[in-house]
Symmetry: C2
DNA sequence: CTGAAAGCGCTTACAG
DNA sequence: CTGAAAGCGCTTACAG
């Protein structure tokens, strides 16, 4: 940032006007005559005047910046959310500054401190897996900086949230398998200390109980990270069951893909012998063969809604005290992996 | 940003010291006595003093912010690069503000204008596909704001670049197929107006000529976007060749995956009948069966290097006039899709 | 080792 | 419709 920049004062001098007038003219203030506005705008253009937005932010106490904290940017779900946030923020004139917590609560705390003096006007957060205490977010409220959480949101903490209905989505997915004629439906469950995976398990259970009456707990295999590798381990276990499950609802797409591959190698036909449903609609779900039936988790839309809500909270006159939770409708995308004949 | 914030002046009053001293004490200035420093730091902590970093940025004319322009955040390659940028920037105390050009030159131009008055200290860019004129970046040089381009970089424009050696990578990939015994190697080529795809084609040609002497131009199929769908179309074409190619080097992983799937459906064995190599090492490459041999394009490292170079340029005393190009070494990751017996 | 003063480049309430 | 003045919250060269 060399000092070759022209300032309002320079412009004022050249035009024999006061800096106040220049400032107003460029801001299209109604009190300024059209003639002056034109003159000023023309000169500003001519001299390549670039307003110093830091000075303006400083003076107006508005940074027009949103802070975003995600566990990792390179996870497709989060990159979609960020894309949605950027899209809405850009259209509304806000900048987006991103931080990765790397799923470390220590780093998450560091970042919240940073953001507090960075004077961001609002913050969007997906919590680190390690985070079960939310004290480091309390300061934002005191500072009048609104927060919106998405996906991994605080429990027992009154705040703004954007979520999908995990319970109903899981219910819908499981019910789909039931309607396709599956009678022995297994579930690969996520970490039960994470609310979304707990809700997915509940949705599964609820659908089974409603249609089949009783539930075989042995058909539920809990996972820690729901990785591709963990999925393979689950699949191996299922192969030893007798009778084998004829339907599997997986809490994410990675494990679903893994199950499909291990089963096929073992000679099990998908979906004829065992139907498989995933969760998230990752790109891989329409590449794996057979293509995977899954839940569209609306990641991009989540980003849009998070930014929209946050900016509304920022711009609202009296910062509303009531917290909002927006629940997005998901969609079951039916593909070959569950298309039993 | 409510006005409940405590300022340096407030602290000064409480402690009966001047704001200058407070400022210095908090900045750990050597001229301040340890006793005073401690007193100030303690009180600052106690009153929950948060320095206003916008005021500081304004005063010091240092925003400590990097601007990043990518075509889309939700493309895995870019999300990896951004992740690398954030990682390095975070450690060095810089913030990262991201923008998506959506591959539109109009939007790219808008963003450069925005960034000019946002007072970012440096900018990292991957050009929009539409961009063949770089005038909108010239202003940054005048302002003393360094630029670093990555992946899709300007041609015939003197600037800082982070790239991989596409020619050699393609050469290496093709040579690998040759060494595996392939004698009729095809290439799915990318858009030839994009330098990286041009270089990949050249690398392919060069390897073929070196080892096989002559080149059969019919074995080169040009694509526009190298999408999964386009890959399938190419595969269909290959199936009609006689004799069929016994090796295919694809300019990206999407088309490679597509080829594998179409070929397998047609009863062609991979790698026995036809070996396939991709480019990029996308996550899908280690999921597709058989796992895909591909080039690791070092996306994360690219982000690290881009940030490192940019921050060096920002912090260098005399902004160096010479432009730098950093070429990262790629790596051929050999997996099953090319493991001919 | 500490302080008084000036100033970064804007914006805005007040005055005319 | 335009201007003079104050000030946002820091930092820093200068003085002591």
């Amino acid at each position: 940032m060399k000092d070759s920049r022209i300032t309002l004062k320079d412009l004022a001098q050249v035009l024999n006007l006061s800096p106040s007038t220049i400032s107003r003219a460029l801001a299209d203030h109604p009190a300024i005559s059209e003639a002056t506005k034109e003159k000023v705008q023309k000169k500003a253009e001519e001299l390549g005047f670039i307003p110093n937005s830091i000075a303006s932010s400083f003076r107006k106490k508005k940074s027009h910046t949103l802070g975003v904290i995600v566990p990792r940017i390179d996870i497709h779900f989060h990159s979609l959310v960020i894309s949605g946030i950027e899209e809405f923020a850009y259209k509304t004139g806000y900048n987006v500054t991103i931080f990765q917590s790397k799923d470390s609560i220590t780093r998450e705390k560091e970042i919240t401190k940073l953001l507090q003096n960075k004077m961001v006007e609002g913050v969007i957060v997906c919590l680190a897996t390690e985070t079960y205490n939310y004290d480091h977010f309390k300061k934002f409220r005191k500072l009048g900086v609104p927060l919106v959480f998405y996906d991994r949101v605080p429990s027992n903490y009154d705040t703004n949230k954007i979520v999908i209905n995990d319970f109903e989505s899981a219910f819908k997915a499981t019910e789909h398998l039931i309607k396709k004629g599956c009678t022995r439906i297994a579930h690969i469950a996520g970490n039960q200390s994470t609310p979304i995976f707990k809700a997915r398990l509940q949705g599964y259970k609820s659908a089974i109980k409603k249609h089949h009456g009783n539930l075989d707990e042995k058909l539920i295999i809990p996972c820690k990270t729901l990785s591709y590798e963990e999925g393979a381990l689950c699949a191996e276990k299922f192969l030893k069951f007798s009778p084998m499950p004829d339907g599997i609802f997986c809490a994410n797409d990675y494990t679903a893909v893994s199950v499909i591959q291990v089963f096929r190698k073992a000679g099990i036909k998908i979906p004829e012998d065992t139907a498989v449903v995933g969760f998230s609609n990752y790109p891989i779900s329409r590449v794996i063969e057979p293509h995977l039936t899954t839940i569209n988790d609306r990641a991009f839309q989540m980003g849009i809604e998070a930014a929209k809500l946050l900016i509304r909270l920022i711009e609202e006159e009296k910062k509303s005290i009531k917290s909002e939770t927006i629940t997005l409708e998901t969609e079951l995308i039916i593909r070959e992996s569950s298309m039993k004949p």
